[in-house]
């Protein structure tokens, strides 16, 4: 017999995800009238972020955090915009219905993969809810902040820092170990998402709180299918969506006690990886979109910026990523300006971008004014490290060599070879498709390398404690690159491979992608 508290916890998570969808769909409907399937798939994450930022705002103006105050504004909006919302939900249900009907046309491999993905996802769900919380970072950083924010009803670390520690070993390389253990500078979005769950259920539940990561599994799986279906045939789209769920790199996030895998339950890396994927997918769509040619402002780049900003609010690694996406958009905007093709974005797109950017800037301002800056910026002046950079680069290379980065016997190899194969294939295609995404991924990896080169922490310690998670963060992005690299060769209708990049696919991707993306199921 299943324990009643397990059932209640399952119900709480399902209701939370449904609420995030409802809120996210309202936000999405406000930004764009006819969102793509990819945008709809990401609306869950948008909803979770909206609820979290709402709580942050409540904390600033002194509104108490509880389920009534959290949901009341959305209920009011729902009543005011009921016709629009009913229409949107019907549209989404129609898409799901079409998708369900297309299941009958699937080949055996796709059916097997979908069945396996369903079983694995179900197992992940049970594990996330029932397994104990033991991951070090989850305890010391993410979920501690979550229950602190929820308890005081505000995003303020004043009561938590400075920590009181009396021990001889208080510093490593001049860094306060207590801060290294807690990382007060880490962004607040993931803890706020957990805190919004606590707010809805009315109490702190550390064990169940970590299950909000399931929301991001749903987002990644659905958005992966929506995106890959727009550029690949159904079998490959299903295969990539399956990998988004079941790639062994994600085991540590959803399963425990599996030999050889670290415990990442309750940590923000998977949520960050999902935001990264969504931002990159929208970035690609913005480059191939034709909505602007039809006279409609293309919302894809706006979504790319929003998800990049959410990534920056999720983890510090998102800060360089946000700058990269912004820079790519600025360069393209500059070119269009010179060509006289630049269109002013609609106010409906500018407002949400402004909100998340204000949140990013606000958090960075908060930690700097409270002396909580990143440990990576506190020690050696970068110039002092210049003479040792070649040796440090060698040490980094040696580390990755020693963890068998190219071996397919571990999950590193699959990610590494994904990148290498996608690079070769995209290069063979002269980066005609996916160049911007590839550039963004490479620059993001470069930012990781720069951080390692200049880290004030003992290099090997830093690598040992973070490299695995960085690879986890990049795994969905590598799937994206692989899919993009194959898209010119594999049609969207059948599994066929031509000797040359299919000009119709490339041109279609350039001329009609908005329609492709809009049509999740053909």
């Amino acid at each position: 017999m299943i324990d009643s508290r397990v059932l209640v916890a399952c119900l709480e998570i399902v209701i939370y995800i449904a609420l995030c969808y409802a809120v996210g769909r309202v936000c999405l409907g406000w930004v764009v009238r006819q969102p793509s399937a990819l945008a709809v798939a990401g609306s869950l994450a948008l909803g979770a972020a909206a609820l979290s930022l709402q709580l942050w705002g409540f904390g600033i103006v002194g509104v108490p955090w509880n389920a009534v105050t959290l949901l009341l504004p959305w209920v009011v909006v729902g009543i005011l915009r009921r016709r629009r919302i009913v229409f949107d939900v019907k549209e989404d249900l129609r898409r799901v219905g079409l998708g369900a009907r297309s299941l009958y046309q699937l080949d055996r491999l796709s059916i097997l993969l979908i069945a396996m993905a369903g079983l694995i996802a179900a197992s992940y769900f049970i594990n996330l809810i029932t397994q104990p919380l033991t991951a070090w970072d989850a305890l010391s950083m993410w979920l501690l902040k979550a229950k602190h924010f929820y308890t005081i009803g505000a995003v303020d670390l004043g009561a938590l820092w400075p920590v009181h520690v009396e021990t001889p070993a208080q510093a490593i390389n001049g860094l306060d170990v207590a801060d290294l253990m807690r990382h007060p500078d880490y962004p607040p979005l993931f803890p706020l998402i957990v805190a919004s769950f606590y707010t809805l259920i009315g109490h702190v539940d550390d064990t169940v709180g970590k299950a909000v990561n399931y929301l991001f599994l749903v987002v990644l799986a659905t958005s992966a299918y929506a995106f890959f279906r727009s550029i690949l045939d159904q079998r490959l789209a299903v295969t990539f969506a399956f990998l988004a769920v079941a790639a062994p790199k994600f085991i540590g996030v959803f399963l425990k006690n599996t030999a050889g895998y670290a415990d990442y339950m309750g940590m923000a890396d998977y949520a960050f990886a999902t935001c990264l994927f969504l931002a990159l997918a929208h970035l690609h769509t913005s480059f191939t979109g034709t909505a602007r040619k039809a006279g409609v402002p293309d919302p894809s780049y706006a979504f790319a910026l929003i998800f990049a900003a959410l990534a920056a609010l999720m983890k510090n690694e998102g800060l360089p990523f946000f700058v990269i996406v912004l820079a790519i958009g600025t360069v393209r905007g500059g070119r269009r300006l010179r060509a006289g093709q630049l269109k002013v974005p609609a106010m409906r797109q500018v407002v949400p971008i402004a909100l998340v950017v204000i949140a990013v800037v606000g958090w960075q301002g908060y930690i700097r004014t409270h002396g909580l800056r990143s440990d990576l910026l506190t020690f050696t002046h970068p110039a002092d490290l210049l003479p040792s950079l070649p040796l440090r680069a060698l040490a980094i290379a040696a580390y990755f060599w020693n963890i068998h980065i190219f071996s397919l016997h571990n999950d590193f190899g699959w990610v590494t070879w994904s990148f290498l194969l996608a690079t070769v294939l995209l290069a063979a295609n002269r980066l005609r498709l996916g160049g911007a995404v590839y550039l963004a991924v490479v620059l993001q990896m470069l930012s990781y390398l720069i951080v390692y080169l200049f880290t004030p922490l003992p290099l090997m310690l830093h690598l040992a404690e973070s490299a695995d998670r960085l690879i986890l963060q990049l795994t969905p992005a590598m799937l994206l690159l692989l899919g993009l690299s194959l898209s010119p060769y594999v049609g969207t209708r059948r599994l066929s491979l031509s000797t040359e990049p299919d000009p119709s696919t490339v041109s279609t991707a350039r001329k009609q992608p908005a329609q492709q993306v809009d049509t999740m199921v053909r």
Binding site: T167, V208, L243
Partner: protein
């Protein structure tokens, strides 16, 4: 299904580099496609194995909070147990004096676990036993090696509870005798010295 197409013409006469240039556009997508399906198969084997290795029956039959309690080591279990017995507004001093050759890591483990499970209490973590003599905290928690001497706490404190786990006796001392709550015990807590 697709298949590599034979290259037209007399390949033998072409230089190796040129042959490679002709072959690559056909081979690469094939290799990438095979790689993707191989990754899917690997995922089925590895992740499927991980999923099958989980014992679901005890997981779903036990409340998540009890699973949480049972998962930690004795120290973590003791902190979860003690947490219910300390008023939420207390200032707590944890003296973590385990000198077993890995003091530093154990200490920081104690710091992270102690501050998390005892939240929202204001926690000070110390590895100096002498901290207990000068403290003004409402509650003092002592974690020590098995067999080592008990903590010499400042005057005015009394032993509220003491638990013994393998290797880690945990003592709780309180300043105010009126606010002693029994520990919330969901599992195997051995209270061997309740002493007011």
């Amino acid at each position: 299904m697709w298949a590599p197409v034979a290259i037209q013409g007399s390949r033998d006469r072409l230089p190796a580099v040129q042959r490679l240039r002709l072959l690559l556009p056909r081979l690469l997508p094939t290799v990438v496609l095979l790689f993707v399906f191989a990754w899917a198969v690997d995922s089925i084997i590895v992740t499927g194995g991980g999923v099958l290795a989980v014992h679901y029956r005890p997981l779903v039959r036990t409340p998540p909070a009890v699973n949480q309690f049972q998962a930690g080591d004795p120290v973590a279990q003791s902190l979860i147990t003690i947490s219910g017995s300390i008023p939420r507004r207390d200032r707590v001093l944890i003296v973590w004096d385990i000198d077993d050759g890995k003091t530093e890591s154990t200490f920081w483990y104690g710091f992270v676990w102690g501050t998390f499970w005892l939240y929202p209490r204001q926690v000070t973590v110390s590895s100096y036993p002498r901290s207990a003599q000068t403290t003004t905290a409402d509650t003092v928690i002592e974690v020590r090696r098995y067999g080592s001497a008990r903590l010499d706490v400042a005057a005015g404190y009394f032993t509220a509870w003491e638990y013994e786990y393998p290797g880690y006796p945990v003592g709780q001392y309180r300043h105010n005798p009126d606010e002693v709550h029994p520990p919330v015990s969901g599992a195997t807590v051995t209270v061997f010295r309740p002493n007011k």
